[in-house]
Amino acid sequence: MKLTFTLNNAPQTWDVAPNESLLDALRRHAIFGVKHGCETGECGACTVLLDGVPVTSCTLLAAQADGHTVETVESLGEHPEQGWRRTDGLHPLQQAFIEAGAIQCGYCTPAQLLAAEALLAENPRPSEAEVRAALSGVLCRCTGYVKPVEAVLRAAAQMRGEIPPPAPDRLPPPINLVELPGDPGEPFAPPDQSEPPAATDSGPRTQVQVTLPKLVVAPAAETRHVGVSEPKVDAVKLAQGKPAFVADIEPRGMLVGKILHSPIAHGYIKHIDASKARALPGVHAVLTYQDVPRVVFSTAGQSHPIPSSLDFVSFDRKMRFVGDRVAAVAAETEEIAQRALDLIEVEFEPLPAVLDSRQSMQPGAPIIHDQPDYVPFAECDPQRNLASHIHMELGNVDEAVQHADYVFEGEYEVPRVQQAPIEPFVCITYWDEDDRLVIRTSTQVPFHARRILAPVLGLPIKRIRVIKPRVGGGFGNKQEVMIEDICAHLTIATKRPVKLEYTREEQFIASTSRHPMIIQMRTGVMADGRMVANEMRVLSDTGAFANHSLTVNGNTGHKAMSLYPANKGPDGQSNLRFLAEVVYTNKPTSGAYRGYGVPQGFFAVECHMERIAHELGLDPLQFRLMNVIQAGEEHPMSKVFSEGREARGELIRTNAITECARIGAELIGWGQDEAPQGRAAGVVRAKGVALVMQGTAIPNLDMGAASIKMNDDGSFNLLVGATDLGTGSDTVLTQMAAEVLGCPPEDFITTSSDTDFTPFDVGAYASSTTYISGAAVVEAARKVADQIRAVAGRLLAVPAEEIMLAERQAWAADGRSVTLAEVALDSLHRTGQHQIMAVGSYVSPDSPPPFAAQFADVAVDTETGQVTVHKLVMVLDCGMIVNPAAAVGQIEGGMTQALGYAVCEEMLFDDEGRLVNPRFGDYRIFAADEMPELQVRFVQTYEPTHPFGVKAVAEIPLDGVGPAVANAVYNAIGVQIPVIPLTPERVWRALHA
């Protein structure tokens, strides 16, 4: 049928099918600013303006738009310089989003822009609440909405001809330790409670314990580009909705891939007949376990050798969870592919399923992995459904517990939650003209993906090219070779380009999620609060496959238990024990999720600390600080665990957690709560705290590399293997290079993550990029700087070592200079011709932990159990901050994800192992109009193991919100609830127990 409408001010007549959505029709006509995030209209990524009104286009038939006007982000504005053609430039909203740091992955940005444009057209002077309401239909998983809201308010002011509110780099500056009131390491005293608790035994006074820090203070800023909120290098294209993501290219002849998923949790394919599907016109391939070579591998995107058992194949006869792969189809259209799936006849032979991790290792439990080609790793026992067994031990826990004044035991439980990036998994594969397989994919680990896929596809690594374009969020979900093998198999089978893109439901049922855990704590404490022993026992559910099972769960103990070394006994020895059994179940596979096992651990540790403080009558914050690890101490668990590799102890060089706690306490108003008010009080408010630490990369393993090439005009190509998922890593790496080379970031063309062109990098995980890849960039930049100085020294007739680079020039000590452009021209065209270019790579023996204090202010309705979080505060020591706006944005987004973990997010299953909430809405993530106030501050230390003193930012915000909220609820109602999310019913039941 004909669709006649006006698109972006131009009349159009298109042929559309009656059942074609407007989203599909627009994208089919190369309008790529509209994005696919779901099929139910709930995420809003596909928003367009229909007659000026923002509506979702995935739930709008194209035919419904007939006779109407449709606007997409492509109509807003464009880059001001298009060669000889001049444009009106970017729309004020686009400009504000760029300047405010409102764009992270950029996948939902076009929708946010359109929603904001519609608001401002109707209401040029909106309040913050009105802006939040206008953005409430567009889910963002990256930003926490703070910066997008700021951007809209700034744009509104500008469009009214007013001076906009301050941009992010005029926000409260990071605090360097030297500027803090009092001496670094001064004992912490919460407001209204300046006296330390009296010691009740003959042990050392606890306040002495917290004056230890040998802090490495931050120097005064001497940088021009590092430490500045530079606009993201990819922001301009993302603000325009340019075709930057995987699905935004369509090679000619491309087929559509679809997967048939298992409806049963456990069992065998008894019989499968794909003949009718294959006979359907338009179908080019149907693949099952009968058609693809069986090659065992792990989907975990990790360094070689993969630290987990190899228990996965592309297609198997055995089904291990609802959502497992039965078959895959490649067809000319999605509709044909869907019909083909319907025509595949499958008869299953169901087996009893294991759906509860507590039952997994019980005698007689069904064995999930009984295949002969299972390749074990470390301590596993698939015959008992044991995917990994982890044991870390320091000191003598049992003896220390015996001598402790008090022993506290508790059990805590955390749920399975989904990373839920707004861009689902999507991959395009094709053969290039050299018969090399190109995999364009939304991945965090392009180099690992290439290495892992080579044997699976029967290709040498050199015949595979993996391209990572912009990625619409990952959060660990895409540290997985999730669909690339299927897509590639289909291309191999058909010789055609194939696109495979998950629906939102597939994203929920057939990708990875955070490991649910049941955690038992046993802690020995002296009467004055000194912790002398700590033990954590974890039962963790890896789901159907073992990927990440050792490393995620090892991290749980490695990091969450190291914050409190339990070394306050007479001998100063840490007494720590961590035991984990990671078991298989017939649930979707667990995997990497931002925080990587640490949020689970800290929920247990920090709730347990709260309970101990309550029962001993200590201030919870003071109790923590008397036991927290200090600078100058050795990271305790680093001595016994390193992700399945040889452990080498690491020193904590920087730690401002005491200062973080002090500032956070002031921001939240700590100590101003009333006593718990109980169930009869109606709505009660209280505050909670959690202290946390994370790591910065995997020591002695994570490696990053970069190359820098100088161009004729003095600009540079910066090529990094690092994988920007929207985090801003391309930007901060560029800022570091700019700092070394004395030119602004806009002089760099930064390219990341193409295995053919960029150097190796492990990818985006373990909070490694700024630290590891950044050091590699600095090394490459320093080498290039040396080469520039050599040329400039010759041109200026001074020794090269006297040359200084700044302001796009090479300066001699006497004030003479040559421009970098002159240096480049000379080196390429005139004298001693050579390419100024260098490579840097870096691997670190250290993983300096960032530290933070997180606070929550909550209200609890004691009649309904509803928890409303009013404010979250996070104060961090993340070393020096390269880009404050980007770093704050990361923290705000992370806190928002963690808020969902605390109060509403949970994947829930029925008795057959089927996920009952596989869609947004039912799986609730926070929207813009229901957010609490978020407050973020940095306390900068200078981490001496990095050229710019940085530590990690990315994961730590996930660690403390859950326990801080839970502890606030505990403080409000006087009942501790050891399980999250704190749903209304869960709280209500606790109050009525």
């Binding site: 049928m1 009656p18 059942n19 959505s21 099929e39 139910t40 209209g41 709930e42 809003g44 928003t47 009104v53 923002p54 509506v55 979702t56 995935c58 739930t59 709008l60 038939l61 035919a63 419904q64 007939d66 929708a111 929603a115 309401a133 206008a134 953005l135 409430s136 239909g137 567009v138 889910l139 999605e334 509709e335 869907q338 019909r339 309705d861 009649e863 309904t864 159990g865 509803q866 409303t868 109060v903 509403c904 829930l908 009952v916 909430n917 809405g921 039912d922 609730r924 926070f926 929207a927 813009a928 109009d929 229901e930 999310p981 749903t983 209304p984 019913e985 209500w988 039941r989």
Partner: protein
């Protein structure tokens, strides 16, 4: 994707035939499974493979509402969106309470709140009033508020128009609409005077999440006596429902907190909810008691303010 959808119609008044009549004619075809298409979120999002044809209602002139206190009613066409209804709040006075003694309460307040408590702004721009009533999600605050406000539904069938109370329409709606019939209007009486108050209370996982349980109430007080009471619930049964057996407990009584508590407790006794992932049956039943009390108290305050 509506995989088997192959016909799209958009009837309108074209001079030779009334658009509604044409729509009903299409919907009445026995050989082609044809369904009405309003906003589309629910229909298209569900991807029902039995749907072969849709009748788009956008050109039937059903997208306006009239609000004239002198006429004593809000009359809204079926294609009026939730966003439009949410905007009714601007015409309504603030919620009754100590700070607004002079304000006259109005059903518009809880209708607007009910419309707004569903999805985000973008989604509410498409979701329609008619769609809400045809779908009647068990926990939809808009439907619950309409029930408490004594809304009536105007239906158009091939035999002609008829009107019926929403409370009677909801349990029978699938058969009524399959006949076929189309919802064309919803009428909400706006009681004159200053004596009726309204209440809406819910519990949810997050402030903007769909409610687990929601209650709405309307109370008219005359000379200190409850002259009229309405209590409606969502999330307590497969469809939103009214509880006449509780309402009669209040009418002709001098309201007291104890009486309202007793009525709320009775409401909890009356329902037998099923549990789901948002809340168990036991929790929902308990929340009916809590939220019914809150909604009734709000309404009572509004009535006597």
């Amino acid at each position: 994707m509506l995989l088997n959808l192959h016909q799209y119609y958009r009837p309108s008044d074209d001079g030779s035939q009334d658009g509604l009549a044409r729509a009903l004619e299409l919907l009445a075809r026995p050989d082609v499974r044809t369904v009405p298409l309003a906003g589309g979120d629910t229909l298209i999002g569900a991807g029902d493979r039995t749907v072969e044809a849709v009748v788009d209602l956008q050109s039937l002139g059903l997208d306006s509402y009239s609000l004239d206190p002198n006429l004593g009613a809000l009359s809204a066409k079926a294609m009026v969106t939730r966003a439009q209804l949410a905007g009714l709040e601007a015409a309504a006075p603030p919620a009754p309470g100590p700070a607004s003694h002079a304000a006259k309460d109005t059903p518009l307040r809880i209708l607007a709140a009910g419309a707004r408590r569903w999805g985000g702004n973008v989604q509410r721009n498409r979701a329609t009033l008619g769609g809400a009533l045809a779908t009647a999600a068990a926990n939809d605050p808009l439907v619950v508020a309409l029930l408490a406000c004594d809304a009536r539904v105007l239906l158009c069938a091939q035999a002609g128009y008829r009107t019926m109370p929403l409370a009677e329409f909801l349990p029978e709606r699938q058969q009524i609409l399959a006949a076929p019939a189309l919802i064309t209007d919803v009428v909400v009486p706006l009681p004159p005077g200053r004596l009726t108050g309204y209440g809406l209370a819910d519990v949810a996982r997050t402030p903007a999440d769909a409610p687990i349980v929601v209650a709405a109430a309307a109370i008219t007080v005359s000379y200190g006596i409850c002259a009229h009471a309405r209590l409606a619930l969502g999330g307590a049964a497969p469809d939103p429902l009214r509880l006449p057996e509780v309402e009669v407990q209040l009418v002709d009584q001098a309201l007291t907190p104890e009486l309202i508590s007793a009525a709320a407790a009775r409401a909890a006794e009356c329902v037998q909810p099923a549990g789901d992932f948002r809340g168990s049956a036991e929790y929902r039943k308990a929340m009916v008691g809590v939220l019914a009390k809150r909604a009734l108290q709000q309404a009572w305050q509004g009535a006597i303010a």
